[in-house]
Symmetry: C2
């Protein structure tokens, strides 16, 4: 199929065209630039990021949210991108054992896709933002992006998501003390999942007392208790997501994110003009000379 045809089917909401477009973008194939540059990106689509340590039950929470939105907003199109190497969404081999969302796989309004992570320990795939844009063009109303919370990926998801959920379990108590400052900047909503376990109330209390109203935004970060496996607390969580979405977005922050993203795209675009094979050969030859200095090498080369 031609890219023009593919794109028009994508915009009509065709599922196979969507999968094909995502694959083309994910693999950075020849058609990917054409596709991206001609996407009609729906701005009404909401991106919900779900991050937290391994074992916090993020996938089960996503599953419960899919259930909730399917029931309360029937007809809405929901997508899941799993960028979490520990997620049952991403582990083919574990699917039989752990995947609890078979029902959703057969729902034509729900699209689930796992994406390869960038680093060994996670981090958003460079293509995740672009794939989210493809989903927006395909008419999705909500995109849930699940990542494992190991630092960089949390920061990246906060940049991509309209609302970021940071999920903990009662056992996470100690962890939170040490990474508090980072988490403060990222979370729009805190979720204490597996809240039927011991320590949930203590963790709730700790989170609430360490939270302050986020500067400049006027949004008080709520803490919600859920037990995703029994769908407990999900409706309340969905209300907070809605509240957060209705809030006036922090426009300066949004502009900054857009600028950073554009700069990264510019860098990638500029790099396309460099013959990297030749560059690699020259670099390896230069390096064997005594007194090699990488900064001078680059400077001499680019002038």
């Amino acid at each position: 199929m031609k890219a023009t045809e593919l794109l028009s089917r994508l915009h009509e909401g065709d599922g196979r065209a969507l999968s094909r477009c995502i694959t083309l973008v994910e693999n950075n194939s020849d058609e990917s630039a054409y596709i991206l540059e001609n996407l009609r990106i729906n701005s009404h689509c909401k991106v919900v990021g779900i991050t937290g340590p391994p074992g916090a039950g993020k996938s089960t929470l996503v599953n419960a949210l899919l259930d909730h939105y399917s029931q309360t907003e029937p007809g809405k199109k929901l997508a899941v991108l799993a960028v979490d190497p520990t997620s049952p969404f991403t582990h083919g081999s574990l699917l039989g054992d752990r995947l609890r969302m078979n029902e959703h796989f057969n729902n034509p309004n729900i699209y689930i896709r796992s994406l390869a992570t960038r680093g060994a320990l996670g981090g958003l795939s460079a293509r995740t933002i672009e794939i989210a844009d493809v989903l927006k063009a395909a008419g999705y109303d909500y995109i849930f992006i699940e990542t494992v919370g190991v630092g960089q990926s949390e920061v990246e998801i906060a940049a991509l998501a309209d609302t970021t959920l940071v999920v903990f379990v009662p056992e996470s108590g100690d962890e939170i003390q040490t990474i508090k400052s980072g988490i403060m900047e990222i979370a729009d909503v805190f979720v204490v999942n597996k809240a039927d376990r011991e320590g949930a109330d203590k963790l709730m209390k700790n989170l609430v007392t360490t939270l302050h109203e986020r500067p400049m935004s006027g949004w008080s970060v709520p803490v919600v208790k859920t037990t995703a496996s029994t769908k407990t607390g999900i409706a309340e969580l969905a209300l907070f997501i809605q509240d957060h979405n209705l809030m006036n977005p922090d426009n300066n922050h949004r502009k900054e994110l857009l600028f950073n993203r554009a700069v990264r795209l510019v860098q990638n675009q500029l790099l396309k003009k460099v013959n990297l094979d030749q560059f690699r050969t020259d670099l390896e030859n230069a390096e064997t000379a005594s007194g090699f200095n990488i900064y001078r090498f680059i400077s001499d080369r680019l002038g």
Copy 2:
């Protein structure tokens, strides 16, 4: 002082010139390109990365290693770069309380510097590699770089360090199961610190049984028990660092790292030719138009 003068003092090992050069590079000031391009980088210097979760005792371990090398290799120049937001090296306010390396601050052969982290949860500062190069040019023999192990920074430190220590405490047991695959690729030596606590042997055993010889390198990742606060196990750890340094480096891997680094430098250099203020204004204007597509905007702009 002129940059030429500063640089020649740096190469003579002058401490104040070193601090000044690092500050210039860290702030990306005008002189920084000249300094970097004219560094005489000693290739004999060894970089040891120390990473692991908050509370693993990384700073205490670095302190113990400083002690060890000061005693066993007197006259060698040792440097510490702390990029860990939870490190007592980086927290001015906590210095009085927690810093145990006062002795080292007065040792002219030891240089300690904290660096701002990039993301909210850590990650190497973009300048860390450059600052390590400045230290190499100043004649340092060992550079210890402490980072908090939260994902991306671990991958980055593995790219920068000759030897990467991944530090755990007995309580880290559960964590390791879930992030095993990532850690496998990064660690050159595993350290079980605070090994006087309960669970150390069990963690040791778990680590050893999950470890396999790393493909293509011929290096069996050892697991070392330490109690850094009492300097227990430090000599053994130092031996493993030495062994790893004596090993034939994986040349393809090293070339790949050099290439990746050069590409990043090229990207930054190319970006300097873009008027970013103008770019930002144009971007913000373009974004308000209906049907804004960031990919097309970039493409139109760069041609």
